[in-house]
């Protein structure tokens, strides 16, 4: 009966007391900081009074003030001590903890009247430890909080970066994927191509376009600059050229219209060099136009090299209304057409020397007898050996077309008679 009454009393008192403890004892609470400063001030005050009491010949009023002060200090400390016991989740553990004992020692001497408790009261200095400990804990909390924030931001940044990289990787893969992986199956000719972009998204592209009349459109192009803008411009250029090639049999007209389209869709003021050829697999005739691109080579069956004339047309995207020139070259059985971007000739080695046209021509001359794929492979291997560990600074793109007279049984005679091939030399 008695115990249950006490229990109920404790129960009913517990909640408000806990609230009070929260208000006063927790540093982050509304009065925590004030209460802590008060305790600190009282500790200092009581230490001073212990010192003063040792002086002899104090006036009576001073002794009285010290006594009253001692009572106030002990009252506040006792109140705080009880509050801490109530607030502690494990009360016995608190009472016997280091700080619990220090708090008790700070007030206990007062209750043992008659003893000379001055030296024991000096132990109150130990109470300062609690404040210092609190302050250290607060500092540690702040540091931990900042560290956590930094780690969070860091991880968010890394996540964003990883996402960006993943998206760029996808874009780069898409860019390569839209390029044809195979040369159109045509009797009498064979083609191979490779584009290796530099570390960022590039602006090189090549294309093999199956034209309505059985001919094949050959594109080799290089957008000025790199990165996402160049890649977008490349996609627009490729799509426009592919579309217009279906409607313009003349390479020069096709380039001129593509240029006009690009000039209207060019916010970044980029431009693209384009070699565009229309090859007739039945006759070996190549009609082409060149908008500012490195002129391709024709490797004759005997190993000699000819450079396709007619370079120097304006790159596409600079100004509308530019006219281009259509030219003609005749491939003979066993000839190869090698087109490339300047990423090939301007690959550098460790002594800052460019791969150059001489090396490219030498490779084409010496190793051009095999398949188109074999020659592409050969040139890329030579480039890799030349560059060594020097990182690739530009996209490297190369296509090879080999022509051997088609099987006579398959040649449509009309193909040979088609007057679509302009006279050689223009």
């Amino acid at each position: 009966m008695n115990t249950s009454l006490v229990g109920r009393a404790v129960q009913s008192v517990n909640a408000p007391v806990r609230q009070l403890a929260q208000l006063l004892l927790e540093r982050d609470g509304p009065y925590g900081q004030t209460f802590e400063n008060l305790i600190l001030a009282l500790i200092v005050l009581s230490l001073v009074s212990v010192g003063l009491e040792t002086l002899s010949g104090l006036p009576a009023w001073a002794t009285l003030v010290l006594k009253v002060g001692e009572i106030v200090v002990v009252a506040v400390f006792s109140f705080e001590y009880l509050l801490r016991i109530v607030a502690a989740p494990r009360k016995l553990a608190f009472v016997f903890s280091f700080y619990g004992l220090v708090d008790l020692l700070a007030i206990a001497p007062f209750y043992f009247a008659g003893l000379d408790t001055r030296y024991l009261r000096a132990l109150r200095v130990l109470r300062v430890l609690r404040v210092l400990k609190l302050q250290r804990r607060v500092l540690e909390n702040i540091v931990a909080e900042r560290t956590r924030e930094l780690a969070e931001r860091n991880s968010a940044l890394m996540q964003a970066q990883a996402q960006l990289k993943a998206e760029l990787d996808i874009a780069r893969a898409l860019q390569i994927a839209i390029l044809p992986s195979k040369f159109p199956a045509k009797s009498g000719c064979d083609g191979a191509a490779r584009m290796v972009p530099a570390s960022t998204m590039g602006g090189d592209f090549y294309d093999f376009i199956e034209l309505p009349d059985g001919q094949v459109g050959l594109v080799m192009a290089d957008v000025s600059g790199k990165g996402v803008p160049a890649a977008f411009f490349m996609a627009v250029a490729r799509t426009s050229l592919r579309e217009l090639a279906m409607h313009h049999a003349e390479p020069a007209a096709c380039l001129a219209r593509t240029n006009d389209v690009l000039c209207t869709q060019n916010p970044m003021e980029l431009f693209v060099s384009v070699f565009y050829g229309v090859f007739d697999p039945a006759t070996g005739a190549l009609r082409y136009a060149n908008g500012g691109h490195n002129p391709p080579y024709v490797r004759r069956a005997d190993g000699s090299i000819e450079v396709l004339s007619g370079a120097g047309g304006l790159v596409l995207g600079v100004m509308p209304g530019v006219e281009y020139q259509s030219l003609t070259a005749q491939l003979r059985a066993g000839d190869r057409l090698v087109s490339y971007t300047d990423g090939v000739t301007e690959a550098f080695n460790h002594v800052d020397e460019a791969y150059g046209e001489e090396r490219l021509i030498a490779e084409v001359q010496a190793h051009g007898d095999g398949s188109a794929e074999a020659l592409v492979e050969r040139i890329f291997r030579s480039l890799t050996i030349f560059s060594g560990t020097v990182p690739q600074s530009d996209d490297i793109t190369l296509t090879v077309l080999t022509w051997h007279r088609p099987n006579l049984g398959e040649v449509p005679l009309a193909g040979l008679q088609t007057p679509s091939v302009p006279a050689a030399g223009q």
Partner: protein, 118 residues
């Protein structure tokens, strides 16, 4: 790449030196834009003297094109001069020498630059 500027009475001469490749293009572009933005009314022309330019890539060519256009918008005359053979080849191959005036040397460029506001 290093860029030096020389101011004559009405003409600023820009002298890029070294290699104008993709990596150098953005910096060169910013310098040229800054020059043209601060041109004011005292300037009549800009000449890019390429005597010290060893190499230009397509990204570098683009800066010449942008500079030519910006000069035109600002009402300034614009010329390029003293191309080394390797740079000249890039200008010829890309067709740029058809749309941007290229002089053999600085004297020829200056002779064709108006001596008063245009």
């Amino acid at each position: 790449m290093n860029v030096r500027l020389e101011s004559l009475s009405l003409t600023t001469i820009v002298m890029p030196e070294g290699r104008l490749d993709y990596g150098a293009a953005a910096g060169f572009q910013a310098q040229v834009e800054q020059l043209l933005a601060g041109a004011g009314t005292k300037l009549a022309g800009v000449i890019i003297d390429c005597a010290g330019l060893d190499y230009v890539s397509s990204a570098g060519l683009r800066v010449f094109l942008l500079a030519a256009r910006a000069s035109q918008r600002a009402g300034l005359s614009f010329a390029i001069c003293a191309l080394k053979p390797a740079v000249r080849e890039v200008f010829d191959l890309s067709g740029f020498s058809r749309v941007i005036v290229v002089y053999a040397d600085r004297a020829a460029a200056l002779a064709h630059t108006p001596q008063g506001p245009v």
